[in-house]
Symmetry: C2
Subunit: 432 residues, 2 copies
Amino acid sequence: MSGDLKIGIAGIGTVGEGVVDLLNKNHEHILKRTGQNLKLVGLSARDRSKKRSFKVNDYLWFDNPCDLASSKEIDVFVELIGGSDGIAKESVEVALTSGKHVVTANKALIASHGMELSKIAESNSSILNFEASVAGGIPIIKLLKESFVGNKISKIYGILNGTSNYILTQMEKTGKSFEDVLSEAQSLGYAESDPSFDINGTDTAHKLAVLTSLMTGLPPNLSSIEVEGIQSISAEDIIFSKKLGFCIKLLGIVSEQNGNYIQRVHPCMVPIKSSISRVDDVNNAIFVEGNFVGPVVLEGLGAGAGPTASSVVSDLIDVSKGKNVLPFGCKLENKEIKLDKDAARLGPWYIRFKVIDEPGVLAEIAAELKNQSVSIESVLQRGRAPGECVSLIMTTHETEEKKFKAAMQQIQKLKALAEPPCVIRIEKLLRN
Amino acid sequence: MSGDLKIGIAGIGTVGEGVVDLLNKNHEHILKRTGQNLKLVGLSARDRSKKRSFKVNDYLWFDNPCDLASSKEIDVFVELIGGSDGIAKESVEVALTSGKHVVTANKALIASHGMELSKIAESNSSILNFEASVAGGIPIIKLLKESFVGNKISKIYGILNGTSNYILTQMEKTGKSFEDVLSEAQSLGYAESDPSFDINGTDTAHKLAVLTSLMTGLPPNLSSIEVEGIQSISAEDIIFSKKLGFCIKLLGIVSEQNGNYIQRVHPCMVPIKSSISRVDDVNNAIFVEGNFVGPVVLEGLGAGAGPTASSVVSDLIDVSKGKNVLPFGCKLENKEIKLDKDAARLGPWYIRFKVIDEPGVLAEIAAELKNQSVSIESVLQRGRAPGECVSLIMTTHETEEKKFKAAMQQIQKLKALAEPPCVIRIEKLLRN
């Protein structure tokens, strides 16, 4: 493409302001280094009069994002509205069918409608780029599409949500409860007022679905991911995990096993000495294993105005160079990734029971575990309070997921249990 | 580009065999995922009859790499011969002027003649890709050219040489001497029979020169890099660095200071708790800081058949897609990066003196340091052997490089010194 790249941005929150800031501050640098003149021409957002870090009047204004998306004034539509459906999806579709290119940071949109949008882009010869949708400034999407593309990838896992990683890190550092750390994170702006998607694993699942699609060449499929969040992790779990030599992280994991792909999002206990345990606060980290490149790890800021803007702008520069790589690097196969419960994880578990401190409880629990051939590795009981509640901690040896869950279902019926047990998968050798 | 990409490879050592292996094993995978048919057609190497992991007879053979480079049978010439000059350079020039694209893993060539080759490529509309020249399987070149290109980069540093990192790691793990670990590394194939370039920092300097060029848009300039190797690191230094809370790593560092770029390659003491200290054995790691993306760290295998082949093949796929990004991502400015001694590092040092154990030695050394305003942070003396040699360890506070070196020059004249002191820079806060 020669001349200017005329850009329209819909959605001017933190990320939108970051993109405008980058385009202004680094405009000359980008022009000099790439020969591309990235020119912001149009904006759309809910509230024109909101106080912003730049002058809205310097650009064309569109009340309706779809009008911006189809405007003759722009070459590329940057969707930063968010959400899997509604006006975000609609405006992206309008842009693509109007022959515009699209750059988006919207993981929910790509995870939910990646296949459909990819087809629309292809049939309109439009570029659809979404580097900023996963792991902020870490360019994992380009790496999977372009750098590791000669490899068969067997595994990807990572810390993909900064908010939940911040909460877990602070719980570990301060010993505070989940609730206390969450409300502090909210007042510091590290967690949103409605943090559900961050803490219940949904945001991580969106990102994992996109990564899995890039790894497998199959359409993203959210319903094939087993998702658990970090809501039930207590200060006690953090203490016990440390005692056991582990640290708790919320991971998204996809691995290939005999041609099946297993996708899961859940808190994991990882060895304190592993590199992933040292990825603190709002940082993200992604591990990729390819059959020639071997293991590669990337770490960086997973969210925030700057890192996300960096990825949006790298997508814009690719658009300006006319690099028409297909959205997922290849035509996605029209085949579903299924949730394969039987092929699920084989590994050890951590369990924290809250039980009435009375004789026979341990025997009852142990009997149920034995019935499903779940072998206990260690038992810890904290304190002693006859007739009252105490914490009983167990770790198991390697166990088939199905058997473990069957045992837990039986155990939950025991009268001695004061609340549902907290279970966390132990991932000792994630690299394998 | 449509149809097949016809490939010729010159130089069939470990990496060459790795590329052939990847092209064979993952051929269908690559075709399915990229739509590109990568077809190896021609080979050139010194010895046709050498035992190899594949059948040489399946391909056209050229005794002279230049004949392969200009052959009508190929679209792209893969140079894996090595060396900054001679037949490697000649054959790359022949390929480019014959209108072929070139993929190379040759850091010495790019570091020494990057500007010149870049111009030849440009004037022939040829692609010149060299992802495999730096850090094996870590796609740092694409990231700097395409992903972080919207950022002003202020710093890049990394462990860029697997052999020297292996030696330092083993010295740390086993307590053995440099010489013993080196000869073990040679017998294990982790070090070459002539390991000079790996251990004296030259290989790291080649890679740093390439990274600096991508960061600055200026031609690679080896002579502007201060280079020290790891030859003088002793088992004692490893012990003392541990005691001081550090670990020794050979780093390549480029940083921007007030518009000047400072490039240096030398062993560094880095905090044991820093992430870079945990990059062990033949692994490489690279840290990049951009003004929007913030800090990003990449870690992976920095050498070996598989990782290097992965990078060569990603370059080939880019060629097959006709992605004509300029070799360094931009037209290099015709301006030299100068070695700016005055703008050099400000930081603390570790010094190990081997001195005759007699009264007054410490006073003499301390006086010379004081003369240059070098302030001592700590002093350690190991053992006591009147009239014989003992190790005297010092660390300094932050010191201007020029003043430190001036003091050391005076100290070296002292009669009490049994050998030249071993000095290592302490890098406490590399991220800043």
